[in-house]
């Protein structure tokens, strides 16, 4: 095959080629501009309660069925007698809350209208991606879009895929499953309930509420993967949703064990973050038999980092009888493993 011949064919068949290019394209060959055009009609602006004491009265949602089901974040905005939903093209509808799942920070609304032509996401068609993947974020952050204006689009990459709360106290939010962290500033007022998509338009996740990471004192930009929400959305949409009881709070968990129960005398807890140094070990105690010594610094209890005497108390308090207790202590410059069993 020579180049000459190729050129000939190309010219002679040009009209056909144009036709072909207009065929629905495969997902992986779509530019972000095309993606944005495709996604925008599926996004809605939600208006409800708020507007006082710094609470915003607007939010974002996305259509998940041709009948007008909308997934969004469970928030105070929905706590209103009437919720207004404005579509991408400016059409305005009333909506009601069909159901909510607070553990997932999820709510599903239904438009109060029949036979409306709608674009929507197929929540069965979602992707799962890793760090470095380019994303687009769609939301009505700060209520910038009004009337028939499309919602705002940000671009960025997936910064991390991680668990929102591996330990209590890091984030103050009921949800504790996997999340995407993004490097764009996506989580703003009113942005919760928006979506993340890949550059080529595959639905990834729902943007969460504004949230502070208590351990680094920074705001986190995160979104909950659709895979985590899918079942709940389907259940609420189909009307066979069963609300679950809330998990008990950490504060309700009784403190069952103290360091002394193992024969450990810790240094006096005087500072906010007194390091968990062992002051002395009671002779013939469990700790003594396991090989703990005074001046050991307790660093991990069952793989949980112990940053102070206070966190040690909480970690030991949570143990139950029969649990294995694995400690890692720092002795001089060495890390030493200690194993014990929690007795009754």
């Amino acid at each position: 095959m020579t180049n000459d011949r190729m050129t000939t064919y190309r010219t002679s068949c040009l009209p056909m080629a144009v036709c072909l290019a207009m065929l629905p394209s495969v997902a992986s060959i779509q530019t972000s501009r095309q993606t944005i055009r495709m996604i925008q009609p599926r996004m809605v602006k939600i208006f409800g309660a708020g507007g006082i004491r710094g609470l915003h009265a607007y939010g974002t949602g996305f259509l998940v069925s041709p009948k007008g089901h909308i997934a969004t974040v469970w928030s105070h905005v929905l706590d209103a007698d009437s919720i207004t939903v404005v579509l991408n093209d400016g059409r305005r509808f009333q909506a009601r809350v069909l159901g909510a799942k607070p553990q997932l920070d999820l709510a599903v609304l239904k438009l109060q209208a029949e036979n409306v032509e709608l674009s929507y996401f197929d929540i069965e068609q979602t992707a799962s991606v890793g760090p470095g993947t380019r994303i687009l974020a769609f939301s009505n952050m700060f209520n910038v879009a009004t009337g028939d204006e499309p919602v705002s689009v940000l671009h960025g990459v997936i910064a991390a895929r991680t668990n929102l709360s591996t330990r209590r106290g890091t984030f103050e939010i009921p949800y504790d499953g996997p999340i995407y962290v993004v490097d764009a500033i996506t989580n703003n007022s009113g942005a919760a309930g928006g979506v993340l998509t890949t550059q080529d338009g595959q639905l990834l996740a729902m943007i969460g509420k504004e949230l502070r990471n208590a351990r680094s004192n920074t705001w986190v930009n995160y979104a909950i993967p659709i895979g985590e929400l899918k079942e709940a959305i389907k259940q609420i949409t189909n009307g066979n949703f069963v609300a679950h009881k809330k998990k008990p709070d950490e504060t309700e968990i009784p403190v069952r064990y103290h360091p002394l129960d193992f024969g450990l005398v810790m240094v006096p807890d005087v500072l906010y973050r007194t390091p968990a140094y062992v002051d002395s070990v009671l002779p013939n105690s469990q700790a003594a038999r396991a090989g703990l010594r005074s001046d050991d610094l307790v660093l991990f209890v069952n793989d949980e980092l112990i940053q102070s005497c206070r966190t040690l108390k909480v970690a030991l308090g949570r143990l139950e009888s029969g649990d294995a207790l694995r400690l890692i202590v720092r002795r001089a410059n060495q890390l030493v493993q200690i194993k014990m069993n929690v007795k009754k």
Binding site: V157, I185, N217, P275
Partner: protein, 660 residues
């Protein structure tokens, strides 16, 4: 049949060919986006084995008002045998123990080896072999606009966290850092900034042009303004850090004439005693023209040339001195000898604008046993010459004396009954005491009513621009022909003490010519650090409205108010000349005594006050830094405002702020 098949095949082939060629033109954008994404991921994969997770245990919960995080942070392996570099920010809480987790999950106890205080880095060491050190991208390859990826390992995940941006600028912060718009925050401080080839350009740190402590610049997190210290620069000083040597910014020990950093030429005003500049023979009046082969014309260029240099680095400096070019070398130091100015031992007569046209500076008061007293001067003598310079006013004499050091000799000429006498004096140290008796200066009687437009007496005023208010007292006998002392009263938390303070100070103000300005904190419960702007504006407004001597402006605070008083004085050196604090020790790092902006201290505390030992320590530290500091102990006194006698003493001290 055969032909049909052939035709079909051909058509299919043609179709597919058309499909791909037609799309070729149209999808290049999409393809590019995808290729770039792949490149990001590959770059991350290349460097990820060098990125470690750091956890700390114990330590402070607040550092200079920034709540320190307790979460994990990031570090970068820089040698096979266990050296890890990270941002100093990650260790500001001074943790009791540091732990490093390698990408393969192995966990080690780490020791802090050394800190680079110029570029805010900390070197750690763990007992591990076969780390995979990061590969440095050459600094020469950096271009503004190129891709830059900020990586961290704070999240619990196999992969490092990624933020993608570009290089926004080079040589930021006096040549120290690369700037990027990738999101940089406590999530990735200590992690690498990587180019698209997976080479490490630098280590992410918070930096600020203004602040110099470890947490400066943190307020810019995730803003699109992030900084990284080039890894090449770090590797160049790695051996020094490995040896346990802390690195500090290098100082020359010169100040320049004029404070226009961007406009004025680098003409040396003062050469600090014992500094590298003095040892290299630099002199007042020299103009720096070249540093290390870099031509300099303006002061800011000197900072650019020296800003990235460390203590211990040697630089070559070329100056012009009376049309001659002089070339020298000097080794920079971390700390200059504390500046200490000389003392003649007089208080000048206060003559606003010297309206009577008398020559020189009159002597109002002589310190007993001072150089001036020993040389035979008496009150009302007039000093007209000092070391070959004609003296026209007190400010000029003060400047001439303050340029010299204690124990240096000087020659002065004074007039007594129009007869001139020349004497030799040996200058002394500024005394750390307050005269037991000091007649107040003569405040002329009011002979006109031009000042009647001004508010006089005790009054309160709202300042809507700041949502603040203040109360003030201007002596009833206010006369614009006299220059007053200004006392800025900083009330303690929860109590403005307005009535009590006014009652105690009213007679002292009348006697010694003191105006009180008493701002109120927006929240009476306590001062927030940024309220200094409001106070600064109020001081400047008072300077405009009233006749105030700028060498006699001081802040006065009691208990928790003292803390903010220290802060104000150190933040506004150009404005404030004195600090009188009762019952509040000074915490934190002290700024240097600055030759251009002298600051004097007076401390009062009861010996039954729990804070008394700390308070004594404050005086010792201030004196070590050569700040003139008087300390008064009130016998059997607890943590309350001082009684009349000690308050009068503060008045006397304030009346000597213009001592020479």
């Amino acid at each position: 049949m055969h032909q049909l098949i052939l035709r079909l095949t051909l058509t299919c082939w043609l179709l597919s060919l058309m499909f791909s060629t037609a799309l070729n033109a149209q999808i290049s954008d999409a393809e590019l986006e995808e290729l770039e994404e792949q490149a990001f991921k590959q770059a991350v994969a290349l460097v990820s084995q060098s990125i470690v997770r750091i956890q700390t245990v114990g330590g402070l919960d607040h550092v200079s008002r920034v709540l320190t995080g307790t979460g994990p942070t990031t570090g970068l392996a820089v040698s096979k045998d266990g050296y890890i570099i990270s941002s100093a920010f990650n260790f500001i809480s001074k943790p009791a123990s540091v732990l490093v987790t390698l990408p393969d999950g192995r966990r080690f106890a780490a020791n802090v080896v050394a800190t680079d205080r110029s570029r805010m880095l900390t070197l750690l060491k763990i007992d591990a072999e076969n780390l995979i050190p990061a590969q440095a991208a050459p600094k020469k390859s950096f271009r503004v606009g190129q891709w830059a990826l900020a990586l961290g390992r704070t999240y619990e995940s196999l992969h490092p966290s990624v933020s993608v941006g570009i290089v926004s600028a080079l040589n930021r912060n006096w040549g120290k850092a690369v700037q990027t718009d990738a999101k940089v925050s406590p999530v990735n401080y200590g992690g690498p900034l990587v180019d698209i080839q997976g080479r490490v350009m630098g280590v992410l740190v918070p930096l600020s042009q203004r602040g110099t402590n470890e947490s400066a610049g943190v307020e810019w997190y995730d803003s699109g303004i992030g900084f990284a210290i080039p890894l090449e620069d770090i590797l160049a000083t790695l051996e020094r850090l490995k040896a346990g040597q802390d690195l500090n910014p290098g100082l020359m020990g010169v100040t320049f004439k004029g404070h226009d950093l961007y406009g004025a030429e680098p003409k040396i005003d003062r050469v600090r005693y014992g500094s590298p500049a003095q040892k290299a023979g630099l002199k007042t009046g020299d103009i720096i023209v070249d540093i290390d082969g870099r031509n300099v014309v303006r002061q800011v260029q000197v900072r650019h040339a020296v800003g990235n240099k460390l203590a211990g680095d040697t630089i070559s400096v070329t100056v012009t001195r009376r049309n001659k070019t002089v070339k020298t070398k000097m080794t920079l130091v971390a700390q200059l000898q504390a500046y200490e100015s000389a003392f003649l031992g007089i208080l000048p007569i206060r003559e606003k604008g010297n309206r009577l046209g008398k020559p020189g500076v009159g002597v109002r008061y002589l310190y007993p046993d001072s150089p001036a007293a020993k040389a035979g001067l008496k009150t009302r003598d007039r000093i007209v010459r000092f070391n070959n310079s004609e003296v026209t006013d007190a400010g000029m004499l003060a400047d001439l004396v303050h340029r010299l050091r204690p124990k240096q000799p000087a020659t002065l000429v004074f007039l007594r009954a129009d007869a001139a006498t020349t004497v030799q004096v040996k200058l002394a140290n500024i005394p750390n005491s307050v005269p037991g008796k000091l007649n107040s200066a003569i405040i002329p009687r009011i002979n006109n009513d031009e000042s009647s437009r001004l508010k006089i007496g005790r009054f309160t005023q709202d300042v809507p621009a700041y949502q603040h208010s203040f109360w003030a007292y201007v002596p009833d006998n206010y006369n614009a022909d006299y220059q007053y002392t200004l006392m800025v009263w900083i009330h303690p938390n929860d109590d403005t003490m307005e009535a009590a303070l006014y009652k105690q100070w009213n007679p002292i103000c009348e006697q010694r010519g003191i105006i009180i300005l008493a701002p109120k904190a927006a929240q009476i419960g306590g001062w927030t650090l940024d309220e200094d702007k409001f106070i600064k504006d109020m001081i400047e407004q008072f300077l405009q409205n009233y006749s105030i001597d700028t060498t006699r402006i001081f802040v006065h605070g009691f208990s928790s108010g003292g803390r903010f008083a220290y802060h104000l004085a150190f933040k506004h050196r150009k404005l404030i000349r004195g600090v009188a604090v009762a019952a509040q020790p000074l915490r934190g790092r002290l700024p240097e005594n600055h030759p251009d902006y002298q600051l004097q201290f007076h401390l009062v505390c009861g010996d039954n006050d729990n804070l008394y030992p700390l308070f004594q320590r404050t005086a010792t530290v201030l004196r070590q830094m050569k700040f003139p500091t008087s300390l008064t102990t009130i016998k059997k006194h607890f943590h309350t405002y001082p009684p009349v006698e000690q308050v009068r003493e503060i008045g006397r001290w304030a009346d000597t702020l213009d001592r020479i």
